[in-house]
Symmetry: D4
Subunit: 172 residues, 8 copies
Amino acid sequence: MASSQVGIIMGSESDLKVMSEAADVLRELGVEFELTVVSAHRTPDRMAEYAKQASGRGLKVVIAGAGGAAHLPGMVASHTILPVIGVPIKSSNSIDGWDSVLSILQMPSGVPVATVALNGARNAGLLAAQILATSDAALANKLRIYKYHLREKVENSIREIKIAGYENEFDQ
Amino acid sequence: MASSQVGIIMGSESDLKVMSEAADVLRELGVEFELTVVSAHRTPDRMAEYAKQASGRGLKVVIAGAGGAAHLPGMVASHTILPVIGVPIKSSNSIDGWDSVLSILQMPSGVPVATVALNGARNAGLLAAQILATSDAALANKLRIYKYHLREKVENSIREIKIAGYENEFDQ
Amino acid sequence: MASSQVGIIMGSESDLKVMSEAADVLRELGVEFELTVVSAHRTPDRMAEYAKQASGRGLKVVIAGAGGAAHLPGMVASHTILPVIGVPIKSSNSIDGWDSVLSILQMPSGVPVATVALNGARNAGLLAAQILATSDAALANKLRIYKYHLREKVENSIREIKIAGYENEFDQ
Amino acid sequence: MASSQVGIIMGSESDLKVMSEAADVLRELGVEFELTVVSAHRTPDRMAEYAKQASGRGLKVVIAGAGGAAHLPGMVASHTILPVIGVPIKSSNSIDGWDSVLSILQMPSGVPVATVALNGARNAGLLAAQILATSDAALANKLRIYKYHLREKVENSIREIKIAGYENEFDQ
Amino acid sequence: MASSQVGIIMGSESDLKVMSEAADVLRELGVEFELTVVSAHRTPDRMAEYAKQASGRGLKVVIAGAGGAAHLPGMVASHTILPVIGVPIKSSNSIDGWDSVLSILQMPSGVPVATVALNGARNAGLLAAQILATSDAALANKLRIYKYHLREKVENSIREIKIAGYENEFDQ
Amino acid sequence: MASSQVGIIMGSESDLKVMSEAADVLRELGVEFELTVVSAHRTPDRMAEYAKQASGRGLKVVIAGAGGAAHLPGMVASHTILPVIGVPIKSSNSIDGWDSVLSILQMPSGVPVATVALNGARNAGLLAAQILATSDAALANKLRIYKYHLREKVENSIREIKIAGYENEFDQ
Amino acid sequence: MASSQVGIIMGSESDLKVMSEAADVLRELGVEFELTVVSAHRTPDRMAEYAKQASGRGLKVVIAGAGGAAHLPGMVASHTILPVIGVPIKSSNSIDGWDSVLSILQMPSGVPVATVALNGARNAGLLAAQILATSDAALANKLRIYKYHLREKVENSIREIKIAGYENEFDQ
Amino acid sequence: MASSQVGIIMGSESDLKVMSEAADVLRELGVEFELTVVSAHRTPDRMAEYAKQASGRGLKVVIAGAGGAAHLPGMVASHTILPVIGVPIKSSNSIDGWDSVLSILQMPSGVPVATVALNGARNAGLLAAQILATSDAALANKLRIYKYHLREKVENSIREIKIAGYENEFDQ
């Protein structure tokens, strides 16, 4: 098995529905990753150990998702110099997601967390790939192709909206 | 030196201005305490060690104050079964205090933090004393006297407002 | 019947669905409790009487849940020196829970309420047990075992996520 | 001394700076009032007694101002059938006034509080006068004159803005 | 037909589901009222006319409900010296009710609106009755009985919770 | 085919359900429009080109709808001097619409966007017509008739509410 | 005197400090305007009359600024088919501007207000000019020059930042 | 001159006071960077060109700071596959920073922005260094030393707090 470059962790198994999108996009881009549950509050020693070993085990980026008083991304960042990407999750114990967002984003000076949108696990995966692509030209090319496909999807939407009967002189 | 029953910790020296009010009220009530800086993000191992040793060292309650993405109270609570009182601080890096409040209050099931008002360090000290007083009748009596003094302050206000020229038939 | 150490009260019968979780965890831990409805707004005299008698009746901690303009926890705290744990409830008449949280948390200096997360009644029960355990070594041991079970649940999640096909080199 | 029709109360002497505006407007309108400090949290028995006696003592309306977890207006309303006007105060221990507003406004079904704007004590005084004027034709006339003066102030502003050099064809 | 003392108006027919609760409680209390649709934005002249004639037609109180940018209560208040009770409605075009609350509550000095809780139409009806009761002893008695029934409902809840198996030593 | 005066664009095909209401009202008023998908983030060059050509192609107004970090309206406005109407959309990736509203409304000095209510696409269409009507007397007349129909709908509501049994002395 | 094309109104003389920026930019662009005080709450009849006469007096656009429960822009829009631009003002009686923004922005279907940023009076003036420029080619050219000057200011900033010692390879 | 690895851009020269902290930390760590003003709204073509050329010119990471409706980070991200770090700035035209945060954070799927705390430019610089350090062992070592210095600062605080008279048994 190839060694993982990205570690995806989440505070609870119930976060997997959201966080699997990070795994999906890394798989599409051919980036090796691992994925498991690490709870800052229920398994703080496991969390510290995971974070401390991350760099030594060969991980380059950690993606951490959590909801409510979401301490996992920030606490992992306190134990490693790897870039940590935080995914605020709108979990059932969250106040509309505001607690998740603020407790991940508002890190003090010295310990950054790269925060993405609420439930934005797919973007977390992409951001991890962009980080790796700063020293991996092949991956950079895959990201260029991914960006091209984003445009293609818009072009499909343009066609479908025409079929639905809406005219548009710009595209003629 | 008598052994401390309450440990007061804060994420940064700049929090002392707020957190010293917890120390003040404990001193007034004759409760032994210790006070130091423990940063969840800059000294995560110290934080874990402090929390793990707290019960063994004889502490009964921990008061933890922090601002912004305030992980200190929740992370201490993850390492100990002592009651942890969290004080959200409206620090300079906070968004009007909302981040401090939500990242302390919204703890997941299994790991409670007893949260008090924004900058409410005096109430944190009082709450610690109330907790200790559940098994300390002398301290309970001091708290009853403290409560009596709260009433006395209101009575002073009533007199001062009369002197300022406002009538009030209720108190006649 | 053994005497109750914890009094669980709530503003309305409709809060029972949330507040029964406080009762459940106290039952699991073998802590004696009582549970009833006390409305600050509809039965203010009952509320005052309940709070004033609480300490004399042998209660050590009061857990009070309420939603909307949630005055029950703070008003009980105004009448007793027992620790009062407030549970903000996202009731049908609440604005996404913000009113419940703020009207319980933001108590003035002198009258603390130990606030837990929105709908966090299970944590309220745990916090009550943690408070009692400051002078009850047997209960403290039960809380250590409870904390151990939290870790076990995470370990189960780790296994299930492996079975779902996600690899993880950290746990190997 | 004529008997007071309006009771103005506030949780703390520090609220007087805001609440004196309610007194000012009642004095302008010739409405008898009394004013004192009643703290829901520090003097809960005084609060209950004040509220219970209010109607019997001849008061027709109670104006109650408070900040933070502002329980005074709602608790007074729980003890009386008089209309209670609540003034949310942006006190030093308030989160930008949101806690004051929500803990006064969001009263449960059965116990209304007539809430005015943040720091809106002048409007509380006016509203009290409007309530009394429903059965006092002379007071109603004074309120009509007050409303007329509001228009006059706008007319002064219109003139001053013209003097400042701004033209306006509508008023020609 | 007896003359109406309370005018209930709302910005849209879709608000009737909420606003009918104001009518219900007035009917229970035997207070004469009228109810219709008056839109500040779609029928501004009707709104102004309604407000200007309200006092002359014998109305004593106006209850106005609206959602979103809710201008109806405040604009009615600008045209009359009658007390105006505003009911913020969480309509489909509202941002979680915040717009409705703020655009009714935050009236400028000189023009108060007595604001009740989000969707709090029943309390608006009660508040109207409390206002009328300041000069109607029979209605005041009905309100005392209503308050008594609030207590009775709590007592029923206490019994039901006992039947559900929860003990409570306070009520023994 | 007559040349379009209004260009309606949206960031994603999923926004069509909301944005079609802008098209509907323009069709009712006989205003020529075009409608297509233009994504600021997925097709930034198309966006820039659309905005730069808009005036030259004869468009007079652009309506742009987007959700979440909604950059489309503001970026179009940066490339054209045509009035740009922004429609904040409460899309699935939005935090209750607040992100959509703020990222459209809060444009810096020099580059305005005419923002309408959350999901207010119908009002965006009306506003576009109002803008065109400043130099089109026939369209202005259609808008007067539209306004008249708004009043008629209220009158229907008044009748229906009477049929539902609510009396109202004002309309007699 | 040339006839005004834009009417600038505000709820209070104290809003002039903000609203004069709308006048300034219209003067720079050579657009005729008038400016006065019109209060929705203190002078509702003047407001209705101003709005009703606006189109007949030759105005093409109305700019209305207000703070707190800001009803002026929406109420003017209810009386006219002219485009109404709303400027939310962070006045002293506003809750951080949120009330001003929401009570202007969230207009119901049928009555749009073109809302600009909090205190964004300069953008309101520009938007008015953009609206007029849809049928005034000379004004459109002035707006293109204005846009060019925005770019020039950025170019000055670029130079100043170089002088401050920051290098930048892009501009070489 | 060594080629820059990090491009720091900001929407306005007034953002330099905040954004210079990103430059400072990169200078401390010996990372080559460039810094200039790029406005999404006033110089959209410059912005697009800067973003498109960034990768080709050798930049590895872009740091973009902006306030209010902050479109710069997201729009740069739409034009490049480089990691883009967004710094929300609490500028004078911002509503307490909420607009800045939400319009940077809430990017749609496919176009991530790595968002740091409000005004968190120092963390943006650190995050850029962490990203570069994923393929630069020497820089990784500098970051480990930087992290060590964070701990040292806490140790200084601990000593100072002891000097201020607070005891602490943990550190003995």
